[in-house]
């Protein structure tokens, strides 16, 4: 049966089918009537569709671009159209901008299923699916309890740490997690990987529980989670983290300390404070604590001290020996600030472009529809042959317009994926800020400790001076001095640790920025290439469609009248 409803399009594989094609064209039956207009090129289209349905193509634009072999395979297929290079597969194209297949982290490291990472034959694939409502076991306060959503997280990997279950050396396992767990994971990673560019996690979205349970929202979140976890798994350092492994693999409750209990944390810190202020407990920062940022922690006193220090720094107080002297770093920071600005602009304009492409596709389709109706009408009411001829001409144009409309929209679906790189890097800028903040905080800790040391030492000096005036020594003062000297020792240790930590974070920064530059160049290159190839492919298709109509109506060309 002629018509577009037979045009097979891969349905989304997840359970929540939220993007049914809204295609009016899909259901349009083109009434042939007594004058049969065979849609020759239409069936070409379908044969192309089915021939590509077998092959699985990666979503990121890089594969057909980087390996010549796969682009050759396009050419060898039985295509009736002579094009330079087939745009990425129709098989991937559903009429929504997103698919449910895992998206590789900008094509740089681990890739889904068949495609392996550049560095080794290591792979890890994460799929998020099957959202389910669950009931919180309520505390007596809220009868009926809170409902929340959990997601099934399925991992397939051959990484050693995860153990393996079969001969191929790969393992597959699933866990159920809720969004809160993801927040915990993100926070723990932030603690453990200071100075690294950690992929930003999906937003918390503070909305009312009604919205939380809406299918669309859940689907959005599912997709975002999948993207996030995949990106984590593509980060060369974080993919090996214990936190991630635990999240992905350990059944039952997530065995990572959560961060949600703000109230009790504050309480603990407050309890310690009066003691510290009244000098009753050793208020020194231990080495262990020194390697954690103050702000996240419970030590309110430390937070106050560092705040004081940063104020002192700002006001040009006594210059501590360790300064941010890395000019290169400052330049880099400046450059990244510019980059962020440009990315923001480009990201915005990319959205504008996508919208414009979408609109023109839609209007072209509606134009086609209008002409189909006109042609049908003229054919049915035809009294004269001239009407039938005109109807036939109108139908040619209509068919072409509908096809072109489809091409515009398919092209756009791909464009969205390509230009997504811009959005992703814009998101990554957030991680850059965090990494820089890690560095600043570490430096602040060092500076604080140094000035602490300096004030401790001067106190010792004063005591020594005062004590030396008393013949035979001063028991209380001596005792005090001993205590202070001990404090100094501990603080010295902490300072050394803090400096080490600072240096470590600096090193992480440096490496990560290098990696960022490298990957960004690569990803932008691929983005541009993917975009361009896609545009070429679809423009050619559209040109063919119209050229055919021009040929079919060439009798009307001015020169031939």
């Amino acid at each position: 049966m002629m018509g577009y409803e037979n045009l097979e399009v891969e349905e989304p594989t997840n359970n929540n089918n939220l993007f049914p094609p809204r295609e009016e064209m899909e259901n349009l039956v083109i009434d042939e009537g007594p004058n049969t207009q065979t849609f020759i090129s239409h069936s070409d289209y379908r044969s192309v569709m089915s021939s590509l349905a077998e092959t699985h193509h990666p979503l990121a634009g890089d594969d057909p671009l980087s390996s010549n072999s796969s682009s050759k395979s396009f050419r060898n297929s039985s295509f009736t159209e002579d094009s330079f290079l087939e745009p990425p597969a129709y098989a991937d194209v559903v009429f929504s901008p997103f698919t449910e297949k895992p998206i590789s982290g900008n094509g740089n490291s681990s890739q889904p299923t068949q495609h392996l990472s550049n560095s080794s034959s290591e792979f890890i694939t994460i799929i998020v699916s099957n959202p389910q409502k669950e009931q919180e076991i309520s505390n007596s306060l809220v009868p009926g309890g809170n409902t929340y959503v959990t997601y099934l997280i399925t991992t397939r990997t051959n990484m050693a740490d995860y153990g393996s279950s079969d001969f191929s050396g790969s393992a597959e396992f699933s866990v159920r997690r809720r969004f809160r767990d993801v927040v915990t994971l993100a926070d723990r990673l932030a603690d453990s990987y200071r100075g690294f560019l950690i992929p930003p996690r999906p937003d918390k979205n503070v909305v009312e529980s009604q919205v939380m349970q809406k299918q669309e929202f859940v689907e959005q979140r599912r997709l975002a989670l999948e993207k996030y976890l995949t990106k984590l798994a593509s980060h060369p350092v974080i993919k090996k983290s214990e936190e991630l492994r635990v999240f992905l693999q350990v059944q039952g409750k997530l065995p990572l300390p959560s961060t949600t209990d703000m109230a009790s944390r504050m309480l603990d810190g407050a309890v310690k404070l009066p003691k510290q202020l009244f000098g009753e407990s050793v208020s020194a920062i231990t080495a262990q604590e020194a390697v954690q940022p103050a702000k996240g922690g419970r030590d309110l006193l430390r937070i106050f001290k560092e705040l004081k220090q940063s104020v002192a720094n700002d006001w040009g107080g006594s210059k501590p020996p360790v300064v941010e002297e890395d000019k290169e770093f400052m330049e880099k920071k400046e450059k990244l600030r510019d980059l962020e600005q440009q990315l923001s602009a480009a990201s915005q304009q990319a959205e504008g472009l996508v919208k414009a492409q979408q609109d023109i596709g839609e209007t072209m389709g509606e134009l086609g529809l209008a002409f189909i109706k006109l042609a049908k009408f003229e054919t049915e009411e035809a009294v004269y042959n001239s009407q039938r001829t005109r109807a036939a001409d109108a139908k040619r144009v209509a068919t072409a317009a509908v096809k072109a409309s489809r091409f515009y929209r398919e092209a756009n679906a791909q464009t969205v994926k390509h230009l997504d790189t811009l959005h992703e890097y814009l998101g990554l800028m957030q991680a850059v800020h965090t990494a820089f903040a890690d560095r600043s905080n570490a430096l602040l800790t060092v500076q604080t400790l140094l000035s602490e040391l300096s004030s401790l030492r001067s106190r010792v000096e004063k005591l020594e001076a005062a004590s030396s005036k008393i013949f035979g020594g001063d028991k209380t003062r001596n005792k005090k001095m001993e205590e202070l000297k001990e404090t100094i020792r501990v603080t010295e240790e902490a300072k050394d640790c803090a400096i080490k930590e600072y240096e470590r974070i600096k090193e992480n920064n440096r490496n990560e920025l290098e990696r960022l530059d490298r990957e960004r160049q690569n990803d932008f290159h691929n983005m541009l290439k993917g975009f361009v190839i896609n545009q070429v492919g679809y423009a050619e298709k559209i040109a063919n469609v119209w050229t055919k109509v021009a040929e079919e109506t060439s009798e009307y060309a001015k020169d031939s009248i």
Binding site: K335, D359, I360, L367, S386, Q521, E540, V549
Partner: protein, 401 residues
């Protein structure tokens, strides 16, 4: 210069071939010029006529005309050539802001040129005296004719009918019945009427989408330009090969943006405007349908009136009234008028049938040209886009990181 020569008819006149042996009449509307000040400002056009027809004084004539002169001509033709589908004129007024925009002026000029040429190539309309006046009279004569026109020709047939009705109303109502619908009972004509109304709807929809398509092209051009600029800036901060590729990308985007704007313009002139013209032509048919309905009603009513007078006369003859000779004359006059009305109606019917055939054939050609040009334009645009992007590929290939 002659705009697209769409309305070539099978008449003996071929506007294109100025060989002196063959009769020809060629007209063009050119050189729009803004005249006057402020609210009174208007556009004037040069109308150039080249002909070897004996009815015209001289081989070449150039006159200055304004829009209202074209309207005058249309109204005169509509009066005198009932049954003919008078070629449509472009709309009277646009939104005030655009009245003098280059785009609007050019569209109007083109439409006026097409209009005059259609009149000049129509087998009956080209005989019109008014056409000759329009093409030849000097500006003062034209202006006088235009201002005089307010009177007689504005009176509709309905007004004339009122005179008869007032005289005959009481009798007629009793005899004819108050609510008798004076409409033709011709099923084929009914079908044709329905066709015309529905056709207008379809065409209006097509035209609406065509206009939207113009807008979409402009929007896409703008979006592409903006995006290209942003990409270029991104590339500037990258430096190196990649930066160069980004820069090239930006240039191509800019270039394509121009092409899109140009295509939008072409679509406006050569795709949307012809569809609009088609709609206007259908509206002209509807006007003719109104004329036919009026003629039919007039025919019916005059026939009735004549018949009644005959009956009256017969009564008077039987009564040997001395009014007989008077009424006899009246009957003769009424009969003649009734016959005239019938003849007028029949002419309209005949002409309409001919016109319809002509209309359908002409429109098939017109739309064929429109479709062809549309397809060509879109194909060209798509090829330009493909080529522009393709040109980037070797450079992108070269700077693979």
């Amino acid at each position: 210069m002659l705009a697209k020569q769409r309305s070539l008819s099978g008449s003996g006149l071929s506007p294109r071939s100025p060989s002196s042996s063959q009769p020809f009449l060629s007209v063009s509307v050119t050189d729009p010029v803004k005249l006057g000040n402020g609210v009174q400002a208007y556009i004037s056009y040069r109308v150039i006529t080249k002909t070897n027809l004996p009815e015209y004084r001289g081989q070449e004539k150039i006159v200055i005309r304004r829009y209202s002169d074209f309207v005058w001509l249309r109204d005169r033709l509509a009066e005198k050539f009932k049954g003919i589908f008078i070629p449509p004129l472009p709309e009277k007024s646009a939104v005030e802001k655009f009245r003098f925009s280059a785009e609007f002026i050019e569209l109007r000029r083109q439409a006026l040129d097409t209009y005059v040429n259609r009149v000049a190539s129509h087998p009956q309309l080209q005989q019109s005296e008014d056409l000759r006046s329009f093409l030849q009279d000097d500006e003062e004569t034209m202006e006088r004719a235009r201002s005089q026109d307010g009177g007689i020709f504005k009176k509709k047939p309905a007004d004339l009918m009122q005179i008869f009705k007032d005289v005959q109303s009481k009798v007629s109502d009793v005899v004819l019945g108050k609510e008798k619908p004076l409409e033709e009972a011709d099923p084929e004509y009914e079908k044709m009427k329905r066709y015309v109304f529905e056709l207008e709807d379809h065409l209006a929809e097509a035209q609406k989408q065509a206009f939207r398509l113009v807008k979409r092209h402009r929007e896409l051009g703008q979006a592409l330009s903006d995006f290209g600029k942003a990409v270029k800036l991104l590339g500037d901060s990258e430096g190196n090969q990649l930066g160069k590729a980004f820069s090239d990308f930006g240039s191509q985007s800019e270039m394509l943006s121009f092409k899109l704007q140009k295509e939008a313009q072409d679509l406006l002139m050569n795709f949307e405007e012809p569809l609009k013209d088609y709609v206007r032509a259908v509206q002209s048919i509807k006007a003719t349908m109104t004329d036919r309905a009026n003629a039919f009603r007039q025919q019916c009513e005059l026939a009735e009136t004549a018949k009644l007078r005959e009956i009256n006369l017969e009564k008077l003859i039987v009564m040997r009234s001395d009014k007989v000779p008077e009424v006899e004359i009246e009957c003769k006059e009424l009969k003649a008028e009734s016959e005239e009305a019938t003849r007028r109606f029949e002419v309209i019917v005949r002409l309409m049938n001919e016109e319809l055939v002509r209309f359908q054939e002409q429109k098939t050609i017109d739309m064929g040209v429109t479709f062809h040009d549309f397809a060509k334009g879109q194909a060209q645009l798509a090829n330009d886009i493909a080529n522009a992007w393709r040109s980037l590929l070797p450079k992108l290939e070269a700077c693979s990181p």
